[in-house]
Symmetry: C2
Subunit: 291 residues, 2 copies
Amino acid sequence: MRLGSIEADGTKFVCAVGNENYQIEDQVQFPTTTPVETLQQTVDYFKQFPDLKAISIASFGPIEIRKNAPKYGFITATPKPNWSNVDFLGRLKQDFDLPIVWTTDVNGSAYGEYVMSVLYNERIDSLTYYTIGTGVGAGTVIDGKFVGELGHPEMGHVRLKRHPDDLDFKGICPYHGDCLEGLVAGPTFEARTGNKGADVPLTDHVWDIMAYYIAQAALQTTLVMRPAKIVFGGGVMSEAFLDKVRDQFKTLMNGYLDVGELADYLTMPLVEHNGSATVGNFALAFNAVNH
Amino acid sequence: MRLGSIEADGTKFVCAVGNENYQIEDQVQFPTTTPVETLQQTVDYFKQFPDLKAISIASFGPIEIRKNAPKYGFITATPKPNWSNVDFLGRLKQDFDLPIVWTTDVNGSAYGEYVMSVLYNERIDSLTYYTIGTGVGAGTVIDGKFVGELGHPEMGHVRLKRHPDDLDFKGICPYHGDCLEGLVAGPTFEARTGNKGADVPLTDHVWDIMAYYIAQAALQTTLVMRPAKIVFGGGVMSEAFLDKVRDQFKTLMNGYLDVGELADYLTMPLVEHNGSATVGNFALAFNAVNH
Ligand SMILES: Nc1ncnc2c1ncn2[C@@H]1O[C@H](COP(=O)(O)OP(=O)(O)O)[C@@H](O)[C@H]1O
Ligand SMILES: Nc1ncnc2c1ncn2[C@@H]1O[C@H](COP(=O)(O)OP(=O)(O)O)[C@@H](O)[C@H]1O
Ligand SMILES: [Zn+2]
Ligand SMILES: [Zn+2]
């Protein structure tokens, strides 16, 4: 069955077609310019595939996900210029009379990792996926459903205990300063050190500070939801850095709760190259056909 | 249909029988002494009602709730003397060949508030219940199920940003010092002021500090799960104090997310006198008969 995937972030759109076995048949990528232009490119891309059975959209946000809300399917008050109050889903529906799934980019990724875990024979019913990239966000799947009734989670904006060696750093979140995103998003490397993250060696103390905050986020997630697994994607993450996060998590947890092997509990994505959302979209689109 | 409710906390057991309309027919209360004695009293109480169809237990913790775990039904490593590693559920099963539900005290309360909300015609699918009492804990219901796969949540032990006027207070949690429980549990009044909470007037600045921390907990819950409603029970809470929490929540949220009317979003329990768990137990016991 041919299914469509849209992964929309603030800098680029990745559109793909594939099947219910999560195999990508074709994929394109283009920059996120104006809504009119970018959504037209998206529509044009999928028009090439007349036998498409469903589409799933994993979008940057904030977005309206409450099905009974008047603005369901809209990107709402985003800081991204021109994209506030844009009827993303409505634009797609104009051209495609198909089931179209609408969720956040991180929910899409969480779902992708969730179905891949099942495929890998891990028996899990719940999973949280964090992206630590240009921004920070997370999505949670419990029993195949996304967490969030009044709206999608905004786990990137939780407040944390500050690291003693980082008290002078004000954080870069335009809304909150030193929330999680304000302290660990990719651009904090430039803000703290003047260098891009990719150029800061893992031996630099700034990485320990980052690990301390991300470990706190993992701890909060654990204490609040006790998911079976927490996955970390996004440009900032690597297995070597995640090891630092695990160390700090262990110290913070201090034996209080058992989460099993940390190497299995706090993990990199099963899908490589940040492709979890595409897998998630295919799975969500397939479900939409069958319900 | 006659149903049994056990609300077990560290100081007392409340046992009740009632029906699927949440009406209490009979109720007793006795102090929590040794496991052998207290569980025998519990068994003796319910033996009076031979037509009992199911029992639900809402217990203090930590407890093992994973059904496939060898110690399912046990109280695990509690600081309460004599109660670690006690097979609570097993003891009940020795005498009652009935469906017996096993969950945490706060999950029981969350479930009670959830079913009451439905009865009050609030259309909600998710709710978090906090108790701010001798200890601090919370339970979350989403779509009729409790959140927590690896175990029950321990939301009382999240870390928070400290209030600038409270930096000298070390907190009273034996595990973490200044976690949420360490900062706002009832006994923190004695630790901070030398007086019991009931004797500290609401005009005292200590209440603003408390409100700041509880508002942060509500904010975390909102950002992580976006439930439809957060309910606050326990001896420390009152409508007047909750108003302070709402004010601080509003300041912290700073318009970032819409949660509707704060008076409807952050609320006192619908069930008065901290009786939510009994209602929850009747509802859970009734479900257990029918599944
Ligand atoms: N090796 C690295 N170490 C630390 N930060 C990195 C690394 N590579 C990329 N980044 C940062 O990650 C961010 C991009 O994250 P990414 O997940 O790729 O994109 P986006 O979040 O925009 O979808 C940028 O801020 C970039 O500087
Ligand atoms: N009016 C009050 N103001 C502040 N704290 C109070 C008040 N009344 C009781 N408390 C505190 O609440 C705690 C008891 O909470 P409660 O929920 O009744 O019991 P428990 O948590 O033990 O089941 C005690 O620490 C008590 O000092
Ligand atoms: Zn923020
Ligand atoms: Zn603690």
